[in-house]
Symmetry: D2
Subunit: 337 residues, 4 copies
Amino acid sequence: MQRKDYLQNPVEHMKITAPLTVDQLMRQFSGSGSFGAGRLAAACDVYEKMLRDKECTVFLALSGAVIPAGLKVLVSDLIRRRLIDVIVCTGASMVHDAIEAVGGRHYRSSWLVDDHELYKYHLFRIYDILVAEEDYIRLDYQLAELYSKIAEARKGEPLSSREFSWELGKYLSDPQSILRSAYEMDVPIFMPAVRDSEFGFIHWLHSSQQNRKNSLVVDAFKEVPEICDICNQSPRNGMIVIGGGVPRNTVQSAALASKKGMDYAVVITMDRPETGGLSGSTLKETISWGKVKDEADKVMVIGEATMVFPLMTASVMERLGAEFRRQPPLLLEGAST
Amino acid sequence: MQRKDYLQNPVEHMKITAPLTVDQLMRQFSGSGSFGAGRLAAACDVYEKMLRDKECTVFLALSGAVIPAGLKVLVSDLIRRRLIDVIVCTGASMVHDAIEAVGGRHYRSSWLVDDHELYKYHLFRIYDILVAEEDYIRLDYQLAELYSKIAEARKGEPLSSREFSWELGKYLSDPQSILRSAYEMDVPIFMPAVRDSEFGFIHWLHSSQQNRKNSLVVDAFKEVPEICDICNQSPRNGMIVIGGGVPRNTVQSAALASKKGMDYAVVITMDRPETGGLSGSTLKETISWGKVKDEADKVMVIGEATMVFPLMTASVMERLGAEFRRQPPLLLEGAST
Amino acid sequence: MQRKDYLQNPVEHMKITAPLTVDQLMRQFSGSGSFGAGRLAAACDVYEKMLRDKECTVFLALSGAVIPAGLKVLVSDLIRRRLIDVIVCTGASMVHDAIEAVGGRHYRSSWLVDDHELYKYHLFRIYDILVAEEDYIRLDYQLAELYSKIAEARKGEPLSSREFSWELGKYLSDPQSILRSAYEMDVPIFMPAVRDSEFGFIHWLHSSQQNRKNSLVVDAFKEVPEICDICNQSPRNGMIVIGGGVPRNTVQSAALASKKGMDYAVVITMDRPETGGLSGSTLKETISWGKVKDEADKVMVIGEATMVFPLMTASVMERLGAEFRRQPPLLLEGAST
Amino acid sequence: MQRKDYLQNPVEHMKITAPLTVDQLMRQFSGSGSFGAGRLAAACDVYEKMLRDKECTVFLALSGAVIPAGLKVLVSDLIRRRLIDVIVCTGASMVHDAIEAVGGRHYRSSWLVDDHELYKYHLFRIYDILVAEEDYIRLDYQLAELYSKIAEARKGEPLSSREFSWELGKYLSDPQSILRSAYEMDVPIFMPAVRDSEFGFIHWLHSSQQNRKNSLVVDAFKEVPEICDICNQSPRNGMIVIGGGVPRNTVQSAALASKKGMDYAVVITMDRPETGGLSGSTLKETISWGKVKDEADKVMVIGEATMVFPLMTASVMERLGAEFRRQPPLLLEGAST
């Protein structure tokens, strides 16, 4: 590079007037450095491109407790407008969703409360969010019943975690539920570690009270071709990662195994790369594997997701218009049904 | 506490429609958990309270390279509307400001460039921001001349870093400059580590070419009573901290030394408390010292400042109205002049 | 508390002479603050207590890429001396182990290499560690053959991930392999997200070439009672967590579901609590759930595991003596076989 | 690079036997990945090289509260053996040292105590370390008296912060004190933000009770040529950075201003680069400025300093032998006296 090539893009200082819409602020962010604001502005651009690309399947990899913290309705709205086509998440996220769908609630409290007192009160803490054991128990009873019905209908035929998610969505009637919304919209939800959640423990309670032969079976590997086929059949693929962990790895591996490589990628995380963990690994690193293409539109936002993701979606929705709805890529339909 | 006391504040899930103004989004954030969005919403509320409190002096503690990254105009606008009353910052921040005020620029690049090539090109890197050595040199020449004038006018009488800042502001004519804006608006700028910047190195070059007796002298301790008097004379005090380090410590220590304790506090940082460093220390910890009052409105936002601070200011400006201007607390005038 | 109660434990400054054994240094660390050294010293004490408690089952929750980075032999040695009784890990960790067991290697490189060049060379990067695609392929062939044998022997009967791990261990002959060591020593290895790894993708390739009916089936939920029974039948339980994610959650949930609560806990992580993610959540938070007992010996070390965990083990091995071997708690035997 | 060039250095798995000396463990670390252990092993090598280089001046940049947390004696021992030649630190670090030198103590407590109760008890908290206000007051009285004596002796001639440090060291008699040890060993201590500490506040109290003309004056800029001359006259320079902030910037800037560039560099920090702050900036970035040479031996250890720094020193002392003492580079003597 020549010296002058480095000096092409002067920083444009933000000018904050009021009122600004979210997208107007993101436009101000786009001329700044990549410390945080510049990355967030770039993430809005990447998400917008994914959505305007009619042949792109949009994956959301979701970890952490962002659903109980306030993102449930945002995610279900994105599903209903098909601004997300596939979800890969922890079992816990969908447990949180299901708890609210059957009438439970999450409560804001403080991270400095007396945890032993909470223990005595049967209140569980997730940072500053509380949930009552009774809300878990209400869910447990309903799940046990549902498991019996599924097992009976399936006659021992194992489900994938995606099929299991849709069974849950079919059962739950709350229109704000992510599981319900995904079921209604044919959006697959994969839970590669579904066993590591209340869904797994209820299965244990349920099957120990009955003849195990009649219990529901989730085949751990059955979902692998399902998600790989989606990647494979879609002309282009994009991912938005919240957090990291197994969901991020699963989405990236699907892109690798299907020999496609992501065309668009946004990662929102607070993790750092130096520990060698997947969650903090850079998008640059994914190129070596073929998980994300070298030429992909991609950016990593170092920030907390309940702050960053709504900013991104509010900005992009503003660009696309309130009425914007997407149709999923044609090839996907076959895969998800 | 009773069990039911913990269950008073159910999470209100965000509902993102478009377009949303920044403040409308912050209102959506206020019902969520304190992972990030909830803290940011709380920070907007605290800043609004500071500004509506006519007897509160608002301190901005500024570290890191946020000025070259895009916050220069935002900060100078805040000064001109007196939404900030006092600044405490590193010398480097004001060097960045001065470089642009005398015609230099900062450029957006990448954090993955070849640093040895930059070295050969005399381009300096701050994460993804570049600045050319020639822009430093242009500043150097002007500073050397200015130092002579100040030294002559002062006749050996030492300056505080605050007086030095105002001398810089008097000299610079760029209305977007923070130093200039502060000078025009009687906003004191303290640089407790002023020596650790180009201001210090120019002094060395300048004084080594001349009879040292005639050189400008900055008295390191002279500013201590100046900032303590401001805290002391103000009925109430509030601080906004970007980053941490010496600026945060200086502001907090002024609140301690003047036996006032901050009444309002917002800290924006990515540092964590476990290393024992000041930058990541919690606001809870400051209570033990009397730096921040136990009953103060206070919140720490774990996030990057070029993203968080403009969000906060856009939201609060929207609440206060485009025409909102503050008058500094009366008692401050005597202190700063 | 009285004022004097706070002033009982003066900091004892470290005195570094040479040579010091690792444990001698840890003893020096024990008088210091809890920024890092004090926490590490406490972690040594907790692990020592776990090991000296003849009725304690020791769980290791393992995430991140610490096995290819250098901890493989350390972990297999711990298994062979029964200083670890149960492992819960990602599928990827055991893939890394298996790759080396069938003759592959991991290589040290740099995190600043050209990832597109690596892609063209079929070299995959994990931070600064490289692994060649050919080593994956060698494993793939062997796994495909093994899967057929297992499927045939099982006649459609699903395996738990623990049974699957032991099948792998039975097959691999490398005595330094973790999978092999665990198989020989009756140490269960649970992989709750086993599908999210090469083990899952090989299954896809394998089963797509054959009659699916004859393929190996891993029942996602089958391991739940297995791990809960271990917790339940053991008089006391302790956990060492490296990283976090699904492995940490699985171990903690087993303690919760079996209504035991961990009696000892060491968490080694770089994650922070404010995002609400499980990996960075505090041990204090686990008390509210009953995952860890309020009165448990517990400590969280904020540090990177390839540095922290060997320090801990070297220190504790020194205390226990080179010949120290543990017998697992009696009740465990029934559970793990 | 050829493909085979990437595959030259297979990971050597650590083998932990007992007892191991610290250096034996570091040797085990040297074959592992650069997640943490590999970086620490590299840092030991770099520090060893600095010390074996008879023409290298070793700078220690010190921030954070590591002195009260347990590193005081370690640092003063390093000074007495001249394993450190120059210190640059915050004022607070030397206040902590001075408090203990006049009979005060720091106490280990918890980061979860009631800070309002501490406030009422006049106990100040630094993460889990407590210090009593009375220990500050004892120091204050002695400093006020000392300031008068210095002012009288100096007759209005301003001091640099380095001269001020030596005046403190001359006054304090505790042989374990860092200030005392540095004074005895002619090791310069620079405090570029000396005003931001109890040293500054005492100055205010002291001078407000007296005729200001007779008060001690610290010239903020006077130290600039002092530290630059040391860099300039030393054939080679090395730095060890604990934390970051102003001390790191000051050392790096001295290397830049003297047109030398560091030949060796170890940075120990938990900060990350993406915020653009100096503390987390990479050593790669410093190359663009000429602060550290492209060809320098350099490594950044992502870890907490009270854990990492003693490990490094114990390992290196073991390599050099218990009797190893260094002579400072000859040229330094003139500069520091």
